[in-house]
C-alpha cells in the first residue's frame, strides 16, 4: 500500500517563484475587472475567489479512501476526491440555490447545511456498510488515538492495512468538508447571480422577470464548472487518499488554497466579463 500512502504526491512544499507568478495572475485578473467594471462585478469576483478558496480548503477535510477503502485496507469513503467533493458541494449548491430568494445569509446557510447533511448521511451509510456488511471496526492508520474521542486504534487495526472503516474524527471532518464545500459553491452562485440579474436585462433587452431563468441557468452552470475546477485542484494536492483533518497530508492545504484562489480568479474573470 505504500504507493497510495504519503510517499506519493510529487514534490513537497511550494515553489516560491511559481507562487509569485500565480499571485501576479491573481492581481492582474482583479485589476482587469476593477478597471473594466468597478463596483458590483469587482465585489462579485472577490466573492468568487473566497468561494473557490472555501471549496479547495473544504475538500481536504473529506475522508477519501478510494479503491483500497472498498477492500477494507484504508480508512475513508470508497471513492475519489472529485466525486465526493462534487457530491457534497453540488448538494449544498442546490440547497443554497433553492433558498436564494430568501436572502443572502439564509441561502449561504442553506448551502452549507445542505453540503454538510449530504456528507453526514454518506459517512453514516459508509459506517453502516463497514461495520455491519464488511464486519470491520473503524481504525485509523495515521494516528494512534482519535483526536476527538481519545479512542485507541492500535488493537483494532488489521495487519498489512493502513486502517479501515471511518473513525469518528473522519466523520466530523467529512461533515466540516461538506459544510465548507456547500458554502463555497453557494457563495459563487449567489455572487454570479447578482451580477447577471443586474446586467443581463439591459444587455439582452428584456425585463428582469424574463431574464431570471437565464441568469439562474448561467450562474448555476458557472458555479458547477468552477466547483469542479477547484475540487480537482484540491484533489491533485491530496493525490489519492486522505483520512481527514488529522491526516499528515492535511498540512499541504496552503498550496491548494493558493492554487484555488488563482484558478477561481481566472475563471471568475471570464464569468464576470461575460456581461460587461
Amino acid at each position: 500500500m505504500t504507493a497510495l500512502g504519503s510517499g506519493s504526491g510529487g514534490g513537497q512544499g511550494m515553489k516560491p517563484v511559481a507562487v509569485v507568478v500565480g499571485l501576479v495572475i491573481l492581481v492582474v485578473a482583479l485589476a482587469a475587472v476593477y478597471f473594466l467594471a468597478p463596483g458590483m462585478a469587482f465585489m462579485a469576483l472577490i466573492g468568487v475567489i473566497i468561494g473557490g478558496v472555501l471549496i479547495g480548503f473544504g475538500v481536504h477535510f473529506v475522508p477519501v479512501g478510494g479503491a483500497p477503502a472498498a477492500m477494507g485496507q484504508s480508512p475513508g469513503i470508497a471513492t475519489g476526491v472529485t466525486m465526493l467533493a462534487a457530491g457534497a458541494g453540488l448538494a449544498g449548491l442546490f440547497g443554497g440555490a433553492w433558498a436564494a430568494e430568501l436572502g443572502f445569509g439564509v441561502a449561504l446557510a442553506g448551502g452549507a447545511i445542505g453540503g454538510a447533511l449530504m456528507m453526514a448521511i454518506t459517512c453514516l451509510m459508509v459506517n453502516v456498510v463497514y461495520v455491519y456488511a464488511m464486519g470491520i471496526p473503524a481504525a485509523s492508520g495515521k494516528v494512534a488515538k482519535d483526536p476527538i474521542t481519545g479512542d485507541t486504534f492500535e488493537a483494532y487495526k488489521s495487519q498489512g492495512t493502513e486502517g479501515h472503516g471511518l473513525p469518528f474524527v473522519s466523520y466530523v471532518g467529512g461533515v466540516i468538508g461538506g459544510l465548507l464545500g456547500g458554502l463555497g459553491g453557494t457563495l459563487i452562485y449567489l455572487e454570479l447571480l447578482g451580477v447577471y440579474e443586474a446586467s443581463l436585462p439591459q444587455l439582452m433587452g428584456g425585463s428582469i422577470d424574463q431574464i431570471v431563468p437565464l441568469a439562474v441557468g448561467l450562474a448555476g452552470i458557472f458555479a458547477v464548472g468552477l466547483f469542479l475546477v477547484n475540487a480537482v485542484i484540491a484533489a491533485y494536492n491530496i493525490t489519492g487518499t486522505i483520512e481527514g483533518p488529522h491526516d499528515p497530508k492535511f498540512k499541504r492545504f496552503p498550496r491548494a488554497v493558493i492554487g484555488c484562489a488563482i484558478a477561481s480568479a481566472v475563471c471568475g474573470l471570464l464569468a464576470v466579463m461575460l456581461v460587461v
Binding site: 510529487g10 511550494m14 517563484v17 448555476g220 452552470i221 475546477v229 480537482v232 484558478a263 471570464l270 464569468a271
Partner: protein, 290 residues
C-alpha cells in the same frame, strides 16, 4: 510520481492524434455555420461530429497525462477538462457581440484560443503551485480545456443549430400563434447545458477509464471514445427536437445512430481481437435433440 508508466506501445503518436482531433473539430464547427449561410438547420449535426473529434483526441490526452499516475483517478481529469472548458466556451460564444470582431466566425477559433490560455494557467497551477511536477501537465490540461470547450460548443451547436450567445440564451415559444422570445426555452436558460456538460464529462473520461489495464491498445480505446461521442450525439439529437426543425433533427438523429452502430461494431471487433479468447455464450442454452 514522475516515472512514466506506458500503457501501450505503438499506434499513432499523440501529436498526430492532437492534430487530427483539433483540425477536425474546428473544421466541423465551421461547417455548422453553413446553417446561417444557407438559412437552414440541416448542418447542425456537424457540431456533434466536432464533439466526437474532440472526445477522440481528449481520450488520448487523458491517456498521455494519466500514464504519469495522478493519484486521483482518471475521472478527475475529465471533470477539470469540462469544468474549465465550460467557462471558456460560454465566454467565447459572447465574442462576436463584444465589439472587436462582429462576425460569428470568430467564435470557434476564439474558443480554442481562450480555452488554451485558461487551461495553460490551470495546468501551471497544478504543476508548479500544487507541485505535481509532471512534465506534460501544462500542455495536457491546456489540451483538455480545449477539448472540453469544443465538446460543449459542438454539442450546443448541434442542439440549437447555432453557436452564438444570443441564440443559445433565448428561445422562441409559440403563444396563440405568435412566436415570442422566451429565455426559459433556451439552451442556457432551460439548463439543457447541464445535460450537455455531463454528457461531455462522462464521454471524455470513460473510454480510457474503461480500457486501461495491461493490454490496453490505442485503437480500441479511441474507438470506444468515438462510440461514447456518438452516444452523446444521440442524446443531443433528441434534445435538438425542442430547438430546431423536425427534418434537421431527424438528420442529426440518423447521423448519430449510424455513427454509433458503426463504432460499436468496430469496438466489439477490436475487443474480440484483443481478448485471449472469447466464447459466444448464449443466455439460455438450447436443448439438444437426442
Amino acid at each position: 510520481m514522475t516515472v512514466q508508466i506506458t500503457a501501450s506501445e505503438g499506434g499513432m503518436s499523440h501529436n498526430k492524434v492532437l492534430a487530427i482531433g483539433l483540425v477536425g473539430a474546428v473544421v466541423c464547427m465551421y461547417l455548422t455555420y453553413l446553417n446561417a449561410l444557407t438559412g437552414t438547420e440541416v448542418f447542425s449535426f456537424f457540431g456533434g461530429l466536432a464533439a466526437v473529434f474532440a472526445l477522440w483526441w481528449g481520450t488520448d490526452t487523458i491517456k498521455h497525462l494519466c500514464s504519469y499516475g495522478l493519484g486521483t483517478g482518471v475521472p478527475s481529469a475529465g471533470m477539470i477538462a469540462l469544468g474549465s472548458g465550460l467557462v471558456a466556451m460560454i465566454f467565447a460564444t459572447k465574442l462576436s457581440s463584444m465589439g472587436i470582431i462582429s462576425s460569428a466566425l470568430v467564435i470557434p477559433i476564439g474558443c480554442v484560443v481562450i480555452a488554451g490560455i485558461l487551461g495553460a494557467i490551470l495546468g501551471y497551477i497544478a504543476n508548479n503551485i500544487v507541485n505535481m511536477s509532471i512534465p506534460v501537465m501544462v500542455s495536457s490540461i491546456a489540451e483538455l480545456c480545449i477539448v472540453g470547450a469544443v465538446t460543449i460548443l459542438g454539442l450546443s451547436a448541434m442542439a440549437t443549430g447555432s453557436f452564438v450567445f444570443a441564440d443559445l440564451a433565448s428561445g422562441q415559444v409559440a403563444f396563440f400563434g405568435i412566436t415570442v422570445a422566451n429565455y426559459q426555452a433556451s439552451l442556457l436558460g432551460g439548463g439543457v447545458i447541464a445535460a450537455i456538460f455531463m454528457l461531455g464529462a462522462i464521454g471524455v473520461q470513460h473510454a480510457f477509464n474503461a480500457c486501461l489495464g495491461p493490454n490496453e491498445s490505442q485503437d480500441r480505446t479511441l474507438m470506444l471514445a468515438a462510440e461514447c461521442g456518438f452516444l452523446s450525439m444521440i442524446t443531443v439529437s433528441i434534445i435538438s427536437f425542442a430547438f430546431i426543425g423536425m427534418g434537421s433533427a431527424i438528420v442529426s438523429f440518423a447521423v448519430s445512430v449510424i455513427g454509433w452502430v458503426y463504432t460499436y461494431y468496430k469496438y466489439l471487433e477490436m475487443s474480440k481481437r484483443d481478448a485471449y479468447m472469447w466464447l459466444d455464450a448464449k443466455p439460455i442454452l438450447e436443448k439438444e435433440e437426442a
